[in-house]
């Protein structure tokens, strides 16, 4: 049952991803990408990552995609015009290269995990029951990964300043 639901959302994600890269209108592309992101959030729930799923909807489908749509509409790119999709030669090249990449990536999914690094089954589920969905992610974030967390805050500050400097006509 879970596997069926998982594949349903997986097919939705892959199908809307395909539509996202083939639609001529950038706004249609962006909206299909939003569908992909929502389907991915559903997959995260099925993979026992409820908190990450909520963040996916809030941050990705909410904030980042609104930023994309805002810029598309600011630059008035939604109007009909010549397509930006490359011709038959570009299509052939993209298909061949993407197919080769898929052939390379597929065996990785089938390879067994090394037994040495694998946790005993149920460890993550027990941890999530003990500390709750948010706590089980927050504890390592503010403990083991504290320094990367602080660096991420500096990165976001630099991004804010950089975006203002780049987008402003005259400081």
């Amino acid at each position: 049952m879970t596997l069926t639901v998982f594949w349903i959302f997986g097919v939705i994600a892959m199908g809307s991803g395909l539509l996202c890269i083939t639609r001529k209108n950038p706004i249609a592309s962006a909206l299909w990408l939003v569908v992909t992101l929502f389907a991915l959030a559903a997959l995260f729930v099925l993979l026992d990552a409820q908190f990450i799923a909520v963040l996916q909807v809030l941050v990705y489908a909410g904030a980042i995609m609104v930023l994309f749509l805002f810029v598309i509409m600011l630059l008035n790119l939604g109007r009909p015009g010549p397509t930006d999709i490359k011709g038959p030669l570009g299509l052939l090249g993209a298909t061949v290269l993407a197919g080769a990449l898929l052939l390379l990536l597929r065996p990785l999914g089938e390879a067994p995990l090394p037994a040495g690094i694998q946790l005993p089954p149920g460890t993550v589920a027990t941890l999530q029951q003990q500390r709750g969905m948010v706590g089980s992610v927050a504890t390592p974030l503010f403990d083991t990964y504290l320094v990367p967390f602080e660096i991420a805050s500096v990165l976001l500050l630099a991004a804010i300043v950089g975006a203002v400097v780049l987008a402003k006509r005259k400081l």
């Binding site: 892959m14 997959l43 999709i85 089954p121 991004a159």
Partner: protein, 99 residues
């Protein structure tokens, strides 16, 4: 066990992102394809976190933070280029090209 289907879906989504980058000329659409690739990697992280520990879920946070920073700066660059060229097509971004 959902690991194998998750990795399969992730591989397909990453490939779709790469195909989009190769296929399109619109800078904003290419940006969206990069986001698609980042999300495919996020799916891998979450799927492997089930058997390898919750560090994978923590790492998704960092990927999201970097993606947000990248989107903000990248879209600002696209805005600045649009002001000069009146276009976001990558064909027109050839200032550094010889001749």
């Amino acid at each position: 066990m959902l690991l194998s289907p998750a990795l399969a879906i992730s591989a397909v989504l990453f490939t779709l992102g790469v195909a989009g980058v190769l296929l399109r000329r619109n800078a904003i659409v290419i940006f969206m394809c990069v986001e698609l690739m980042l999300n495919a990697v996020n799916l891998t992280f979450v799927a492997l976190a089930q058997s390898l520990g919750l560090g994978g879920q923590v790492f998704v946070f960092f990927v999201m933070a970097v993606a947000a920073a990248e989107a903000a700066v990248g879209l600002a660059i696209i805005l600045a280029v649009y002001r000069h060229k009146q276009s976001v097509s990558l064909q027109n971004m050839n200032l550094l090209k010889d001749g």
